[in-house]
Symmetry: C2
């Protein structure tokens, strides 16, 4: 695991560089405080799991690593914008994110909304500039747009808000999670696929991996909100309970949720069987996500 943690660290550093470069002040900079608000959340650390998925998938398929680095950076911008908007007073009203004040507490609500809008828009500009043939770029743009919009992440976030204080069935809750968290994770893996040459079997295996990893991700996140530590996590724990949200621990109990996590981790790993030992980094990533719950 230690060797893999070093890999994660070096990938995160590569992404940090890529994001820094993309966010360098431009000569024709219009509104410096807008860039500052964008940089504040985008460059505030974060585990960079989504773009790391793009990078590891591209390495597995021996695809175009530079294109993966840029696609992953665009995905991280979309993830970042969603955090800024989700934290707003009208949404989850969060004060703390990655151990720092949330964006709107530092820059005000108007700037936070605009910084989110600008990050989302910039993501598509970056994707349009990938050094890939145009048809591949279009495939990636369509993939990311459809998974982060009304039938993906934004739709899931809407359902999530509506679901507060409602009793959901496991199936209803999973539908929300699949959209809110799962869709962007799927897009991250498939972006790596589209940065590469791939067979249908390979794509299907990786998609199944991404779907199971997405659920695992959410189960662990739910568990951390119950068993985690505000200081260590850098965000407030217990907020799901405060909002009386349907979560895995609430529906299955803490032990049941832990069992579910192990189950989804196993499914995610099994879906990569066709790649044999070449899939080791993606498999270790599952173990890494699973290990966060303790």
């Amino acid at each position: 695991m230690d060797g893999f943690k070093a890999i994660l660290k070096s990938k995160a550093a590569e992404l940090e560089n890529s994001l820094e470069e993309l966010m360098e002040l431009k000569e024709d900079e219009l509104a410096p405080e807008l860039s500052e608000a964008m940089r504040y959340t985008l460059l505030s650390g974060g585990k960079r799991i989504r773009p790391i998925l793009t990078l590891l998938t591209t390495e597995l398929l021996k695809g175009d690593y530079q294109a993966a680095l840029k696609s992953g950076s665009a995905l991280e911008m979309i993830h970042s914008y969603s955090l800024i908007h989700d934290d707003l007073p009208a949404m989850d009203d969060d004060q703390l994110r990655r151990g720092k004040k949330t964006n709107h507490l530092v820059f005000g609500e108007a700037k936070a909304i605009l910084a989110g809008d600008a990050l989302l828009t910039y993501a598509f500009e970056i994707l349009s500039e990938l050094e890939l043939e145009p048809a591949k770029k279009i495939k990636i743009i369509k993939l990311i747009a459809s998974n982060s919009g009304m039938l993906g992440m934004v739709g899931g976030q809407t359902l999530d808000i509506d679901a507060e204080k409602k009793e959901l069935s496991l199936a209803e809750m999973q539908k929300i999670h699949a959209a809110k968290t799962g869709a962007l994770i799927k897009a991250s893996v498939l972006s790596g696929v589209y940065c590469s040459v791939y067979s249908r079997t390979e794509k299907e295996a990786l998609q199944k991996y991404a779907e199971n990893l997405g659920v695992l991700f959410q189960v662990v996140d739910d568990l951390l909100d119950v068993t985690g530590d505000t200081e260590k996590l850098g965000k407030k724990v217990g907020s799901d309970q405060k909002l009386d949200k349907s979560t895995y621990p609430k529906l299955l109990g803490v032990d049941g949720a832990r069992e579910a996590a192990v189950e989804y981790a196993k499914k995610a790993k099994n879906s990569l069987a066709i790649f044999e030992e070449e899939a080791e980094p993606l498999i270790k990533l599952v173990d890494y996500v699973l290990s966060r719950q303790h």
Copy 2:
């Protein structure tokens, strides 16, 4: 002018159909209230000037009309999202838009933010699905993303908020307008260019047209805020003055602003000289925009 008004009306109807079709409830609809919030602002009338520019430009250059209809629809979604976010309490805090309650007053702030996010994201999905060769689609996506983001519309909106209660010079104010309003108008005309086969001279002429039309647009908008009528406009007049904003009438006086409008209208028309009488619809559009100030 009456004949031209009929053209405007029929183009607006075509766009209405296109937007309705794109917003039809999908079978895999996730969050029906999100679509409802998106539809509420997107399909609330509006003059559809931006996509009409795309259509008229494409007709002038005998380009791909169906692609122009879809690109124009995407541009209108971006315009719509910007209105929803601009009207939020944290931004301009407006209650009235096109004669109806603003989005957040009907759906709540959280849904209004999400509806804006979803419209912006959907615009790029639509562009990725244009029936054009991939390289052309990429050109349009890059054009629209770069003009609506931090160096374009969103950057301009940020400057505009910061400029409230500041004394701006004419040059400073024009820089803000060029980004806030001008960039999307330029992108609308150039989208039409990219839906067509064009020469460099044609593109440059149309870009110059768009830039001057963009300024004219803003001068007329500023004038209407002083001389217009809330009921007829469907939005509250006098809000610039309330916010003590730098506007053309404030900097040049009402008469000075009227002269400036005539000047920019002339420049816009003159830039189309190379097209001779074929440019008539785009020229009449200038007269139409100019005529709105009275």
